[in-house]
Subunit: 286 residues, 4 copies
């Protein structure tokens, strides 16, 4: 599924109208582009059209101009577009606390070229993972967060993320709530991994909640972060089976593998421009 | 896993104490029985011991006496036992409304000898499935339930269930809430299939709730019914993947297959004396 | 995902060339049609383009003419098209032996309007399911097959299938091999359910083979039938977990549910014109 | 599920006979031990009894003596026993080639205390992972293997494994076949991860084979290594869904995550003394 060099990947959405598929395909064809993949979706209830379209640019056109021309064209159709050049590798920052499984997993996948991005730095409210980050050759900044210091800490976090040019922030088991103002100021998407099958067991200690309720499956949910805790648009979810034999410690251990794979898949889809959040939901062109 | 003829299957639980495994196994051995399966569990937090043990009775002993003797023995150890004779086929009543998928599925599995029971009758608050029940040769009683008539209707339901000698009641998509007094008076276990991954989306119209929240998996949950809606001990759960392409109608259609398999599995485990409810949870010796 | 009334669903494939997406979408748009879904695939290795496209016909055009015009248009592009009118319900015949689980499952799904087809009749080499077919109001013809009688039996089968106008034949656990000449003469697609995860355990008694090998998952595979046993293009597969505790009888029992769901899904996809067989494989636009 | 300190875990098997459960439980009880878990299995066809039993030793007895006494006792019953002291952490060597995903995954799980062992060293027929091994502080020995040098290389491998005291060897995507004499001389169990759902696609390049056959699920299989390639007793298997959209490269990428989790689970079960190989199969007390 990996795109080859020299393609553009556009994610569009806007009010539905007849002929949108023909118009976008026609525009690309007329300019000498070749569509490699195209996928559409209509939300019939809300009258919204969604499209992900990937095409090889004409050889005589540079990609940024092509991108700008396509953006202008789709705007003229009343649609919003997010367009990725295949050669661009978005800059991604991780935020972590003490747990290291998602941290290692994302970085090793990145090093194995499974994730098309540049990991630009690690922020943490604890110093624990500093050495490991250094071992990977990645910048690590420890910013303690206490109840009183939160506004200052968030300002410092924003400062670092901007300095690094982060286009995506991944909360790889970061155990602090980000404030509404933080998210607004940041202006970049934030993906979180919640260690339950949302909306079940939102909030703190979900494995403890799951154990208490006696569920037979535990889950993990990757979602975009909004100002409301554990309520943002869901990108990916998965579950594994547990039984009465599993104590809370077992759920935590079993959940780790799930958290890693669910978060990595969600980040991967985001980086391949496959995820479009609208309202409380996502369209995922997988 | 099917038990052969002439075995006893006991489900025990009680306060943990040293030597319980040795004592039950020793008792059976000394009387000439042969243990076919034995499975134990300890809830360390609550100090409770659970055991499912199946054994071939000694040839010179009749099963009911053996059962009574074992019950007396385990009582002397401070444990409660539920003991099933392998030849006994518990009488099961179904309660249904209009949806027929779980209804057909359970009856066809029963006819295919997948369920070790006798289906003794069908109660419904709608007449719709009467003909189908008749086609299967099963008693069908239509008892309308309205807000005002509920106490009378429940009395009539109890009457029929007792008449049929129902030892287990299965709510095969029965769309009415059973009252606390009904459950108390009935005195038999009731298994329900809820069409969501509980505790997410309890209550009415779970597929609509799931669609609105934009989840990426939908689930079904089989549980024992208690006086609190959708809160009883969970026996079995499963999920399937959905996407933005699936409307509510698709979730309903996809969910049907899940509901059938989850409910059938839960009923099957119950009938094989594999499920022990304690507190808000179950132990399932699968 | 169910198509609403008055749509056309085309499955296309042919040599890849630039502009195919634009051309088909443009053709539909110019004639006043509205594309509801469109999905494409390119087999890069073989240079083949595949498309499934569903559109609402223009109000002033009748569907059969639209279909013929689109077929002519795509032929002019060097592509082959299979075009379904949404109002058309293909005629489907079942072939069965003694096992009845897939038989009941398909018929109940059909009656529940999950399958967009007309079940036109049942052929069997055994008389066992005759009464059940009659109970469903479906024609049932018993054609015994012995080694010596196979050519005559196949001629009689072809005769009946033609009489019923079968456009699809589903082998719902039909335990005889269909000959090459039968398939050629029939000229209609045949879908089979094989009770293993092909290519593992092709041929007879797959659950016995699986048990002997000690696998930890058992599977089921729905595929188009070709003259080579269990070798046709795979449409759908699924698996479930088993353990050392499960004997062959348990595998058979557990496998039943899997066979039902895998076969029903494959038939459903075929009926919604989502499956394109090419070479030894399928493209499934799900 | 993690055993607490000061327990013994015995895996037994031998000819079935009445009273085995009672006898082992009785022996432990009489000596003042407390059974924490006990699980039995009977292979009815072959008349073999299997048991995994974990107990807290009596406070006045040292574990090695208890182990030896239990071994003598079970030998007197005609059974073979493998007994693990919970405090003992078996020494595990990894053999790798170039692929590093299972290598990192096992080591990180070990560092996160998910695997109860000591990783004692890494052998490789390529130098590629030497730096990474060093980064983890683990001995790494590069032993090239060519057709001509294989006997010498295997002798050197045996030498190193003995030097490290390896009690288990894990082939973490080691791409060379181990000879029968090597396995015999080694005398320790060897676990391999094969990147297909065995017995489908044994041998080389299984993802290429799977892609060519057009399967809809790909798998991974962890098994004990025997002298016959990809034929040893299966410990664990899992699958994930693929479609026509996935090229061979995608199967390889998707398979990596599967290989990691399947191998880690199999190694974990082995280390917890949960796996008993007999004939071509395993009993896994999970």
């Amino acid at each position: 599924m990996a795109a080859s060099a020299d393609t553009l990947i556009a994610l569009l959405h806007g009010p539905d109208q007849p002929g949108l598929v023909a118009k976008t395909a026609g525009w690309i064809f007329e300019r000498g582009g070749n569509i490699l993949h195209a996928d559409q979706h209509r939300d019939m209830e809300q009258g919204v059209f969604f499209q992900r379209i990937e095409w090889a640019s004409p050889p005589d056109e540079d990609l940024p101009s092509e991108r700008d021309a396509f953006a202008a064209f789709t705007a003229s159709l009343g649609m919003k577009a997010r367009i990725l050049l295949s050669g661009h590798r978005p800059r991604v920052a991780l935020m972590v606390s003490r747990a290291d499984h998602c941290f290692h997993d994302l970085i090793l996948r990145w090093k194995a070229r499974e994730l098309r991005c540049e990991i630009c730095g690690i922020l943490s409210n604890h110093p624990d993972l500093g050495d490991a980050a250094q071992g990977y050759g990645l910048p690590f900044v420890h910013i303690p967060v206490t109840r009183g210091s939160k506004p200052d800490a968030e300002a410092e976090q924003i400062h670092r993320l901007r300095q690094w040019g982060a286009e995506l922030v991944v909360l790889a088991r970061y155990m602090q709530i980000l404030s509404g103002p933080f998210l607004e100021t940041l202006g970049a998407p934030v993906i979180n991994i919640h260690h339950s099958f949302l909306p079940a067991f939102a909030g703190a200690r979900p494995y403890h909640q799951a154990h208490e309720r006696g569920v037979k499956l535990i889950g993990a949910t990757a979602h975009y972060v909004t100002a409301i805790l554990d309520d943002g648009p869901i990108i990916h979810q998965d579950v594994i089976r547990v039984s009465h034999r599993h104590g809370v410690e077992d759920l935590i251990r079993k959940g780790r593998h799930l958290e890693k794979s669910v978060l990595a898949q969600a980040v991967n889809w985001h980086l391949e421009n496959r995820v479009l959040a609208y309202g409380a939901k996502t369209v995922v062109f997988d």
